[in-house]
């Protein structure tokens, strides 16, 4: 059975873009290991040749015209950004 160690949790945290403290890493290591152990129960099932289900609506390719609409809330959306200037959202320097 898969065993999750603290380094795996650090890797998952990095993939998930969450900076965890060391205390949180130990606690989550225990929980995630247990949960992944529990869901491995599915190994008991023979799923050879079974089609996966990704959605349950039976809808396929819902088409619509690609029409440009002007957003009535553009200014409100900008106001929601933690920092913005000149109709643009500000973030820390990337390069």
């Amino acid at each position: 059975m898969t065993t999750i160690v603290n380094d795996d949790v650090r890797q998952l945290a990095a993939l998930s873009a969450i900076d965890l403290s060391d205390d949180e890493i130990s606690a989550l290591q225990h929980d995630i290991d247990n949960i992944l152990g529990y869901v491995k129960k599915l190994d008991e099932l023979d799923t050879d040749g079974v089609e996966p289900t990704y959605q349950v609506t039976d809808l396929e390719n819902v088409w619509r015209e690609d029409e440009v609409e002007k957003s009535p809330v553009l200014d409100k959306l900008l106001e929601l950004a933690p920092e913005h200037a000149k109709q643009q959202i500000k973030v820390s320097k990337v390069l």
């Binding site: 529990y38 599915l42 289900t53 349950v56």
Partner: protein, 467 residues
């Protein structure tokens, strides 16, 4: 007995104003504050809307089907008049720029939102203990949980603050708290109600429904909300909420939900309900769903995978709270997300990252989606023999606050009855069926084939009239 139609007829006849209805609801919200069911009030906007509705009625304009009826929305519905937080810190001051389609449709019929209800942060949980803003208390016993994740909505309905409240149900988040608080809770057929403007959790099972004190009120609210929406491409219009002929239904009690693991008084209540249904002329038999045993394992792979994707947008860039003292962009993401999510959010996001990562995708995610097909096939077979399936809504009545919080799997087991129909997109209704030895409410879950939401409500109505 429909509370909603009583209010509507009083408002239309001028016996009572919409303003009075809203003021009464706000007063009840204030006098039941200790349950911590509401995160905010939309009082100012609610009173303004009430005055507009009263003015329209006085001037003879046609009144809506919900004229003057106050309601509460779970705080993951985008609504005007108060922030939409999803009970998470990362959305602490988020002022919705638009309203959810469901809210818009209710408002168009004259309903008035008076406040936003507490939930587990981002609807991750089964007790409302995972809210970043404090726990909600059960309407019948304040030392016990409200259930969840729509705990606040269930409690305001049970306490008669409002005649109906909105919730979301991904794996039981309406039905289970409805059961814990002795009210009706409806999870519709997947796709029946638009999810536009509602904070997404797991897109392949997320649904929108409601709580109320009678099947007729549930029917009316669902009928108003349902229908195709061009802003939610998964919506369908084949779901009917009209009253159905329910003469001599074939009802199956799922044997796997009536084992010794289930609280004995809960089992007895379901058995009693089965006898009552037989007494009403229905054919009641045992049904078997062997895949039930695997449903929770499927759910805790598929749902975290979808959560990982849906919660990627909360990064402190375009909206929500951005962490302070940031030196780089990566740190801004990492700190904002660490500070903005509760532990259960992080747990689910990280499990999702695990099951979707390249080395594990086939063993977990693909395996779970195939197992999901096997579960759906078993439901399809059952619906050849039965019109409706019956189970307890939850394996126990409301548990104590703190009782399950140390063990995530124990908490997940509270949803064991409600998760299977969610994975298959089936409509399901929790109906109150008496109380246990401690005076705590018990719920029965009725499940129908996709699209047969109206039949569930007709059966519930027959049961109400027979009691």
């Amino acid at each position: 007995m429909s509370q909603i139609s009583a209010i509507v007829s009083q408002v239309i006849s001028g016996q009572k104003t919409a303003r009075q209805c809203v003021e009464e609801a706000l007063a009840k919200a204030d006098s039941t504050k200790e349950f911590h069911a509401l995160l905010s009030l939309t009082d100012k906007r609610a009173l303004e809307r009430a005055d507009e509705i009263d003015a329209d009625i006085r001037s003879g304009k046609p009144a809506g089907r919900l004229a003057g009826v106050p309601f509460v929305a779970k705080d993951n519905f985008l609504a005007f008049g108060a922030p939409t937080t999803a009970a998470a810190k990362i959305l602490e001051n988020f002022e919705a720029p638009i309203q959810a389609t469901a809210i818009e449709k209710l408002e168009a019929e004259g309903a008035i939102c008076i406040g936003k209800a507490n939930l587990d942060a981002f609807a991750h949980g089964g007790s409302t203990e995972n809210s970043a803003y404090g726990v909600t208390h059960n309407a019948f016993d304040q030392t016990r949980v409200a259930g969840g994740s729509s705990g606040g909505s269930a409690v305001v309905t049970a306490l008669d603050v409002v005649p109906f409240a909105l919730g979301t149900d991904t794996g039981g988040s309406i039905r289970q708290p409805a059961s814990f608080n002795g009210v009706y809770g409806m999870k519709p057929t997947y796709g029946a109600v638009s999810r536009y403007g509602v904070v997404a959790m797991a897109s392949s099972t997320d649904t929108i429904g409601c709580f109320a004190q009678s099947s007729e009120d549930v029917r009316l609210v669902m009928d108003v909300m349902a229908g195709k929406d061009k802003r939610d491409m998964t919506t369908i219009d084949q779901v009917s909420y009209t009253d159905q002929d329910i003469n001599k239904l074939r009802i199956g009690v799922i044997a796997e939900t009536m084992t010794d693991d289930v609280q004995s008084t809960v089992r007895q209540a379901i058995e009693q309900m089965a006898r009552k249904l037989a007494g009403l002329g229905h054919k009641v038999d045992q049904a078997n769903l062997p895949m039930m045993e695997y449903a929770l394992a499927i759910y805790y792979i598929v749902v975290p995978a979808e959560i990982t994707s849906n919660l990627a947008r909360y990064d402190g860039v375009r909206f929500g709270r951005r962490a302070a003292d940031i030196k780089s962009l990566a740190q801004m993401y990492g700190h904002s997300r660490n500070q903005g999510f509760v532990t259960e959010n992080k747990r689910r996001i990280m499990i999702g990252s695990y099951v979707l990562s390249s080395g594990y995708f086939d063993a977990y995610y693909l395996k779970a989606q195939k197992a999901r097909t096997l579960l759906i096939n078993q439901y399809n077979d059952l619906f050849e023999k039965f019109d409706i399936l019956l189970t307890p809504t939850a394996p126990t009545t409301a548990f104590g606050i703190g009782e399950n919080s140390a063990d995530p799997i124990k908490m997940y087991l509270a949803d064991i009855m409600t998760v299977p129909p969610s994975l298959a997109g089936l409509p399901a209704l929790s109906v109150p069926v008496g109380k246990d030895e401690n005076g705590l409410p018990i719920g029965a879950q009725l499940i129908a084939p996709r699209g047969a939401d109206g039949m569930l409500l007709s059966l519930a109505k027959q049961l109400e009239q027979a009691s």
